[in-house]
């Protein structure tokens, strides 16, 4: 009997999947798209948002609470991975070759600059904290793999959490300034957003790097 199920499962699953897909597709095609009221609202509010890039405005102003929780998810993942206590072999430094070291000498600073640019441009053009953080993380990994840089536990913890910390403190400081949760003062909205994004960039870079290493720093167990 189980063998029979084994046989039938693919067929059933396939059929079910196709049926489900057809249903969703039908639902999608049979209905007109929305009238774009949300888009208009977003664009009308854009001037007050403190940034020029509508997506950034949504991420860090209109729906900033989503993003706050999203940063929390990143931090959570790091704790979760550390908790798994994967005893991966230490990533030992790559053999120092002239090519590699010169690559480092050029790319290291370059990556930092690019990250900074992405972060800055995010206010008006596509870009922003996550992209910047990802690039920065690349740089950090290069340095780690080269064995040039092995930050201490305290540093990693602070770097990984500063984004969430700043974001949260900003959020709960705002009611004092404007009387609204996560509601920035009109004049300085852009400044606040930049502050949050900078901190977030650092944390994202730190977390991605730490996820790659997957070993809790300053861990004392054998």
């Amino acid at each position: 009997m189980p063998r029979l199920i084994e046989r039938c499962l693919p067929v059933l699953a396939g059929a079910g999947a196709i049926a489900l897909g057809a249903l969703i597709a039908a639902a999608l095609l049979r209905t007109p798209e929305n009238d774009g009221a949300m888009a208009r609202a977003a664009l009308e509010a854009l001037p007050d948002s403190g940034v020029g890039n509508p997506v950034t405005a949504v991420l860090l102003n209109f729906r900033a609470f989503d993003t706050l929780l999203e940063v929390a998810v990143l931090l959570l993942t790091l704790v979760a991975v550390w908790a798994l206590d994967l005893r991966l072999p230490r990533t030992e430094a790559l053999p120092a070759s002239p090519v590699f070291s010169s690559l480092l000498r050029i790319s290291g600073p370059l990556l930092v600059v690019i990250a900074g640019y992405l972060l800055w441009v995010g206010a008006s053009e596509p870009g922003g904290a996550f992209q910047a953080g990802a690039v920065l993380a690349g740089g950090c990994l290069l340095l780690r793999l080269a064995g040039r840089w092995n930050p201490g536990a305290g540093f990693v913890r602070w770097a990984a959490s500063v984004g969430l910390l700043v974001f949260l403190l900003t959020a709960i400081a705002m009611p004092a300034l404007t009387g609204g949760l996560l509601q920035y003062p009109h004049a300085s909205a852009g400044m606040w957003i930049l502050l949050i994004e900078t901190a977030a960039t650092v944390s994202i870079a730190a977390i991605l790097t730490a996820l790659f290493v997957a070993r809790e720093p300053g861990e004392t167990r054998p």
Partner: protein
Amino acid sequence: MTLWWSTLCVAAPLLAAVLLFIRPKWMAGIALVAVTLVLVGALGLASVLHDSGPQFIAIGGWGAPLGIGWRIDGLTVTMLLMAGIVGWPVTLYAHGYFGGAAAGRHFWPLWMLLLTALCSLFLSNDLFNWYVTLELLGLSAVALVTLSGKKAALDAAQRYLYTGLVGSLFYLMGVALIYNDYGVLDLAVLREVTEPSLALWVALGLMAFGLLVKSALFPLHFWLPAAHGSAPAPVSAILSALVVKGAFYILLRLWFDLVPATLPDAVSLILGGLGAGAIIWGSLQAIRATRLKMLVAYSTVAQLGYLALFFPLSESGQWGDAALTGLVYFMFAHGCAKGAMFLAAGNLQRAAGHDDLVSLAPTAQALPVSMFAFAIGGVSIMGLPPSGGFIAKWSLLNAAIGSGGWIWVAVMIAGGLLSAGYIFRVLSLSFSESGDEPEPGPELVPVAKSSEWASLLLASIALLLGLNALPMLDLLSIGLPRAG
């Protein structure tokens, strides 16, 4: 004040999480403060609602449709209170349970993040924000399950993770359909604009499926027993008492605000049927269980069935309110009772080093306080007076009988008796032909007094809920949602 109280509920645990991440040494102290603050915030909100009715908060000052809105009515605050009231003893317990153990270092930030997710889920009223909270909730829950580090726990955690992610993705697909159709995410706005259409039905179907998977309604419960049964005791308590309720809460909100009145009765009947299946099947599995924690976990499967009974009952016109009362009271009472049972079970397991029912009798007699806590929790689970469970059962029965739903009456009665079947299986452990002195048995690992009393405290709350239901019902009735 509303703003401050509600912010407190989310910010306190989140800040605690960050601090505990930066300085693991600070440990429980901060967590306990944070949970207390959540409780304070919830109580503050309760008083605000009492004076000035339901509240709305536009985060970022944008308001619907552009911004995310918090909606704070009786239901919200009741759930927040549940989180705080269950969370407090659990935190106290975990302090004794993990002590300085390495696992504790990770437990505290994870638990605080979970609490954050839960509180923002209860406050939120926005389809996509709910998705983010669901993920935060789900991932932290899975991570907590892995803390015991055993193979079984890891396997259970993986299954839990995959199922949870599939659930969220189904939910998100539903959200995508709705957004594609209406371009709105705020539930209050959607309530006004939606009208029955294929897209809406499919979207609701996808969301409901995803949420039912997450709230483990039979037969989608397959992931639950292993996960709840193999997690560390305080985690099991959190999962059974709070986490499953999170997804169900969203389902409830959708049911009230998004499901059109033209919903065919068949649907609610099917949901009720699944509930009935859960009650019977879960109870039978619990009766057959060989390990204490698995028994309690299957009991959760069964109890979640009662939640689904709400759907057919709420259709029954004038009795709908009684059904909702019963439902919410049930969630609350089950939270306390089941939490207490898991904590007590954890004490036994910790003391004996195992939780095989056959050889647990000496341990049970060595830990009377924990057994007492388990017993009180059990009374509430069985729906016997005096307990919150009894109030809940009374209200649900009232709705069922009033609306002539005799099938549901039969199911509830059967469920009550079956639950007695497995609960007294455990309680009878306290009575064995011990000699003149309680027999020493195998030498037991000492259990922290705080852990024993924490379980009793939580159980007593389940008991106290049964003494006077009016305060909570008054709170619940503020902005009482009605089926669409």
